[in-house]
Each structure stands twice: as C-alpha cells, then as structure tokens.
Symmetry: C2
Subunit: 503 residues, 2 copies
C-alpha cells in the first residue's frame, strides 16, 4: 500500500462508522422496541469509542504525515488530509477529564432543566448553566491549544465546531444588520395588523391521507426514494446512513397538515443535499457539509423560498385538494399562499414564522456570546431575555418557561450552535437569489410541478462541492458574495409586502 | 483495571459489534431503500474487519492468558474465557489466503448455482461444488491445526462450527435410527393414503388481518414486544440486536395463512430464546446459544410440539375465526388440527411436514459427509440424491432443480450445517417430553391460551444456561439424556397415529 492508500483506508473506515452510528440513531427514534434503548446506548458507546480510538490512533497521525509528503496529490486529496486532520484534532484536543466533566454536567443539567422548565424555576437551572458556561470556556481553550480551533475569543472556538472559518467579528455586524432590518419590517407589518390564519388548514385532516400527501411532495421536489426513506418520529430529523441511504422523518398533527408538510420538506432539503455528493466524494470526508449553516440553508431554501411561494401552491394545492376534497375544495391558490405566510410574533422559537424566526436566534446568540465573554451573568439571563423579546418582537414572555427555559440546546451543552440557524437562513436567500438570476423563469416550472432546474443548480453549485471548501467560499462562488443579509431582507420585504399589502 | 476487567471489556466490545451487525442485516432485509445495499455492504465489511481485528489482536490473546491466571475466577468466568478463546481460534485459524479463496469460490458458485438451477443443469454447477468441497477440506485442516476444532475427520471439524462437541461418530447412529423410524412410520401412513389438505385454509385471507393474527399469537406465547418487533421480509428470520432488542420477520401469502402463522411462531421460538438469557449473561459471550441445533430446537418446539397440538387450536381457532369469520366460521378444532398435521412426501425440503422433513436433512447429511470423506464423487450426486429420495420418501424428483439443486447451502459454502436442523428437531422432542413429565397438565393451560408454564420451564432449563455448557449437556441436564431420537419418534408416532387413525 502507498502512504495515500493507508490514509484513505483509515479515512473511509471513520466515514463508515459515522454512517453506521447514524443508522443506529435513526433506528432508535423510529422502529426500536421501547426497551431497546438500554442496549442501543451501550452499542453506540462502543462504536463511538472505536471511532475515537481510530481518530486518535498514532497510526492515523503517521498516515497523515506520510500521505502529505506525496508530491502527486491533487487539490481534493490535500483537502481530505486537512479535513481529517481537523477531525483528529477535534477528537484529541479536549482532555479526557474535561470530556467526562462535560458529559456529567450535561446529564445533570438536562435533568435540572426538565424540572426547572416544568416548574418555571430558572434559579434551579442557573447553577447548571453556570457550570456549563465555565466548562465551555475550558473546552474552547483546549480546542485552541490542541489546534482544533483558531486562536481568538472563546466563543469563536465554540462557533468554529459548527461554522468552521466563521467568527464573531464577521458574524456580529451581519447579525446586527439583519436584526435592524427585521425589527423594521416587523414594525411595518404590525401596523397593518392583518391576521388571517387560515381556518381551512385548521380542521381534521386524516393522518393516513397526510402521510400520502407527504410522499406526494418528495418525488417532485427531487428526493430519491430509491436512495432514502420517510418515516415517523416524535421530532422530525434527517439521517445520512450512506450516500444511497438518506432517511427522513416527519410527524403528524390531525388538525395541522402544514406541520407534516413543511417538516417533511425541511428534512427533504437536508436529505437532497446528502443525496447530492459528487460520486468522486462517496465514502470520503468530502461527502459532508462544510458547516451546519450551509446544511440548514438547503432545508430552509426548499421549505421557505420554494414551497411558501405562489408557484409551489399553484402546483400543489390541486394535489392536496385531491387528497382532502372535503377540507380544501374550492380554496384558491392565493388563499393557501397567504395562509402559509402569516407573521405573528410569539414566544416559542420552533413555532416562529420566517420574519420572526431569526430574531429568536439573534437574541439567543447575543445572550450566549455575552455569557461566554463574561459580560452577562447567568442570573441576569431571564431579565435580558424579556428585555430583548420586548425590543425585537414587541412581546414579553409571562414566564421563563416560555422564555429562556424553552430550548434544550444550552442544557445539552450546545453553546455556539444557534447562529447556524440564521446563517442557514441568510445563505438560503443568497443562493436562491443567485439561482433566480440564472433562471428567472424557474417559478413557472415550479407551478407545473417541475423543480429539476433548481435541484440541478444546487447539485452543481453546492452539493457537488461537498467539503472541498468552507461554507462561505461555496456561497461566494455560487452567489458572488460571502455571508450577506441583503438578499434575505429583500426576499422578506418583497413577499410580506405583498402578503400584507404594504405600500 | 484488573486482568479480568481488561478481558471483560474486550469481550463486551465484540458482543456489541455482533449485535450491531445483526441490526444492519435486519435493516437490509426490512426497511433499507433499494439502493442502500451498495453502502450497507461496505459498512458491514468495515465492521466485520474491525471485529476480526479485535478478535485476532495480540492484546486479546494477552488478556486471555492474564485473566486465566486470576485464582478468584468462578466457573462462569472460566467458561467465558474458553468461549472467547474458541472464537479467537475460529477467527485466526483459517489463513487469509484461504478465507479469500473461499469467498471468491462462494461468489462464483452462487452465480453458477442460480443459473444451473434455472436451467436444470447440474454439470454447470458441479465444478464449483468440487472446488468448495476441496476448500472445505482445507478449511477443516486449518481449523484443526489452529486449535479451533478437535482433531479427527474433516467433516467433524466443519460440523463443530455449528454443533460444538458433536461429531459424526455420535451423530451417525442416532441419524440412522431416526431414518429407520421415519421411513417405517411414513410407510404405515402411506398405506392409509389419507389426504385431507383442508380447503378452508386455502382461500383468500386478507393480508392486513393476517398481520393482526400473527401479532395475536406472539404475546400469549410469551414473545415480549417491548423488547422486540415483528416485520415483513422476503424470507423470515430472527435477528438478535441485543437482549432487549430481538427482531422477527415473517411473510404473507394471500391464500395460505398458515405460512405466516407458522413462520411467525418459528421465529418467535428463536426470539424467545434470545429474550431469555440470564441477566448475569447480558452483553457477554454467554448470552448466546451453544449450538445451532439447540437454537433450532426452540423454534421447532413452539412451531411443532406446541402449536400443532389440539390444545393450541382449542385456544387459537376462536381467535383466528374472529379475524376471519367468513373463511373459518363453523370450523371445528379437530378439523383445524388435522389440517395442520398433514403428511405428504414432496421434493422440496422447505415445504416438508414434520415426518418427512428430517428425511430431507438426513439425505443431505449423508451426501455432504460422503463428499467430504471422498467416498462420493460430485458427478454422482444427482443419482445418489434420486436413489435416496426413492428409498426414504418413495418419490423420485423429475429434475435436479427439484433435487440436488434446490438448496442454497452448499453454493453458499455451508457444509456441515444441515445436521443442525435435525439435531434441533430431536432436541425439541426431548425437551418437550421432559417438560410434559414435569407438567403433565400443561396442555390444559395451552387450551386456555396460557403458555407461561412452558416458557418458564424453558427459561430455567435452557435459556438461562446460555453458553455455559454444550448443547448436549444442557439437553441432558434438562431431559436426562443427550441426543436421543426416542422422544421424537414417540411423539410423531403418537400424533400421526391419531391423525391417520393407525391401528
């Protein structure tokens, strides 16, 4: 074997372990018997330990060094070496003592958070959050020391795990611009005071027919069911169990078919990305997303820009009406389109619309960044949360349960993760804007149920790039610009100006 | 860590890998998308290679030696060491060159077998079978040389992989006695010439209701659905993905509900065994069957002795009639019982009844043992097959497709595997006989739908023993005798004497 082959073999072994772990996790959330959790946790632990051994093995270190000396390597091979080096650094930078302390703190925090949320008792959760913040700072220092994150502020090191090459200096101004634009737009919508939550979508839609409806939408959009599945789970997710095995889940609510529809489309967006790697990248570390934000951009683009459009509903309303003639017979495309584009400030992030969603995220980003840099004390989080909610959304949560205790992220130790949601939304608008410039008549195809022109464009400009470059580089190559909020604000102002008939 | 802990950790890692591989295989046969096979094969190969590395690692060898020196080990710990040593020997005894040659020969043989069976062309398969026989002999020699099988005839070494501690010297006389008894019984049944294939079971039974029917039977028998599942697959199987995660599959034929019913019960018998390990054995090598035959005894006992009885049909016919009133309304228990206990010599093993099934197996055993010891040439297999079919079953297959080309086993390289089927049938009768002696009124409970007394007896006498001792030792402890055909012949003579109203 050549040095490259030795490296390649080790890289593919790690990718296979990733995919098997993904399947185990999918199984646990879908078909595993109730009590299988007891064994699945043990098996997952064993596979994760094996993967960790493989990543940290001195043999991999030697293989990396030797393969890098090969003068015949092409650019893609060099990137593979860099990506695997980074994963190795991430796996080894944090000392075992800290990994263990973090795991224990997280377990205790999750338990405390569940109780605190139930009892609306932030002080019961506060000491756990303090511990996690402290450990996150230690983790950041270890990541920097171990070469797994760039030197700089602690928050950047945490963010870097989800958004490599992104940092607070780049993100801060962009997020501020986004916040100002959204608060301004929301104010103008609020003055109109239009609320037309469509009653037609709020009646009983039998679950069997909803299931058929979700399958109706997958094939036209381009999710390949010969290389993937759709199942049910408590919380929708997508799992990449291999380039030909991408699994989506969705959920159903009897009186809310839009929940299943948009959950399915969101996950299909993630899934089509995973089905779209370049064949040359199959089984390698390049068959992965460069950032959580870019992954999220793929789900949001299909969920928002594409399927909350008049063009989509021109195609889909007749199909949906055929499944639900009693509920939807006679509904107009305009009525359906307005119904799926309602804006209403609320307390709960996961229920938020396109306009308010990012304000929820920006608030969380500001709070967690201030916690990490020490400018905000844990005990002040509830007050700051309420204050920001009032400023950004014009509403004040009556309880912390509906405020700073609503999300599981911090209790799970995910600090630095929230920004990816907004990065995803920003990227999705940039990419869609660039796509429309190249294919201005595409919405006419969408209205006829043909989405191939968009999927092909994404394949070529995003999916096939894989992990060859950073997310920002891919978006810049595709749209002409790195992270930039103008297209998102333009899109939101345009659509909601029309929905709300702004001047 | 103590030496024992070092060993224990390595053993549990291997067991976890076994279980994960089992889940991957279950997934492939049930829910995996069509094209996922392409990635699943690669992932399975990677996990198998990791397991092989773990089994053959010098560190495991050292851990075995050091742990064995611990003077505080109890008997169960000593057995664990022996079992893991055997698996290690099995993993390392066969040189890589031979493993590779075997895999290649098997691939080629499977392809040739499919074609030969389609075209009824044994000569096209014959050279592949010759190669496999030659490689099987080499494999036997390697197993013996590597300490993975006892010294002796080559066939014993092959048999030992499936039935440890069994050999041709023990098996030969028992099988001869079984053959004579069965041929004699079949002759007496044939003279009666009764054929009452019940037409009531040969009409359309909607698949949905059949699915509900199979679930109806699992809980009363004792298969725990909170620790297992039932799904559909092309070929029924059971998969042990952990002590709390045992998965069964079944299949459905519209006009043959007994196919789904007995496939389900058969797999549930395997499954209840896997759900029945002693808690102290969970996650260790002792949570496994000592032989394929003992595993098969658990499926056959429930499938034949229990659920082909009048007692079972007294319980189950009303339940089944409630699912299928139009098809079964007014049917008597006696009619149902006779319908599921028909004897009819046929060419195809997998369709054979309780009386003729073992004759199919004995024939295959005799042929493969003679091939291995060189007393039979491959080219003579078709003739010998026809000759034996005529002697044992009184019928002659018109083609090799219905003769020596029907089974996939030899083409897959499974030589020495067939005996386990008959060993299972023999054990099942021995165990059931011993159970009835201890609980003579149990059939009255069965008629009331209560099977707990039997499951408890099997748990205590078989399942909880795990892999603490050989299959023969477990059966001897439970029934008072090692492999012995008297109970099976007594059971068959008794039941079929009644069904066929022999003098």
């Amino acid at each position: 074997m050549t040095p490259w082959q030795r490296f390649d073999l080790r890289m593919r072994e790690i990718v296979d372990l990733d995919q098997v772990l993904s399947l185990l996790s999918w199984d646990e959330e879908t078909y595993a018997p109730d009590r299988a959790r007891l064994v699945r946790g043990r098996q997952t632990g064993t596979l994760e330990a094996i993967r960790h051994q493989k990543l940290s093995a001195p043999e991999l270190g030697a293989a990396l060094v030797e393969a890098a000396r090969d003068p015949t390597l092409g650019p893609a091979e060099k990137v593979m070496l860099a990506r695997v080096s980074r994963r190795r650094a991430l796996a080894t930078a944090v000392p075992e003592r800290l990994v263990k302390a973090f795991a224990e703190a997280r377990s205790a925090a999750l338990l405390a958070w569940q109780g605190a949320r139930k009892d609306d008792d932030f002080p019961a959760f506060a000491p756990h959050l303090s511990t996690l913040i402290e450990l996150a700072r230690e983790r950041a220092a270890a990541l920097i020391a171990g070469g797994a994150a760039p030197a700089g502020p602690a928050y950047d090191a945490l963010l870097d795990e989800y958004e490599p090459d992104m940092n607070i200096a780049k993100l801060g101004p962009v997020f501020t611009e986004l916040r100002q634009g959204l608060v301004d737009l929301l104010g103008r919508l609020g003055e109109k005071g239009v609320k037309t939550r469509a009653g037609r979508f709020q009646q009983a839609f039998p679950i069997d027919a909803q299931l058929a409806m979700t399958v109706d939408v997958l094939a036209p959009l381009g999710f390949d069911l010969s290389r993937g599945r759709l199942d049910r789970s408590a919380h929708p997710f997508s799992a990449s169990c291999g380039e030909h095995d991408v699994r989506l889940t969705t959920r159903f609510a009897l009186e809310d078919p839009l929940n299943a529809l948009y959950s399915t489309i969101h996950e299909a967006g993630h899934g089509m990305y995973e089905q779209g790697w370049a064949e040359a990248h199959y089984g390698t570390i390049l068959a992965s997303a460069p950032s959580y934000g870019l992954h999220e951009s793929q789900s949001r683009l299909w969920e928002n820009q594409v399927t909350r459009s008049q063009a989509f509903w021109t195609f889909f309303l007749p199909k949906m009406t055929a499944r639900f003639p009693a509920q939807l017979g006679g509904m107009s495309v305009d009525e359906a389109w307005r119904a799926v584009n309602q804006v209403e400030p609320g307390f709960i992030r996961t229920e938020a619309d396109e306009v308010t969603y990012n304000l929820h995220i920006l608030l969380r980003f500001e709070v967690e960044a201030a916690l990490i840099d020490g400018s905000l004390a844990v005990r002040d989080v509830p007050g700051v949360w309420r204050e920001k909610m009032r400023h950004y959304l014009g509403i004040t949560p009556p309880t912390d349960r509906e405020g700073c205790l609503q999300d599981i992220h911090w209790a799970s130790g995910y600090i630095g993760y929230f920004p990816s949601y907004s990065v995803g939304n920003i990227y999705s608008a940039q990419l869609y804007d660039a796509f429309l410039k190249a294919h201005p008549t595409a919405p006419e195809s969408f209205a006829a149920g043909e989405f191939g022109v968009l999927l092909s464009w994404l394949r070529q400009n995003v999916h096939h790039r894989g992990y060859l470059e950073s997310a920002d580089e891919t978006v810049k190559r595709a749209s002409g610009s790195g992270l930039s909020v103008a297209p998102l604000l333009k899109y939101l102002r345009g659509k909601y100006g029309e929905v709300y008939r702004l001047a």
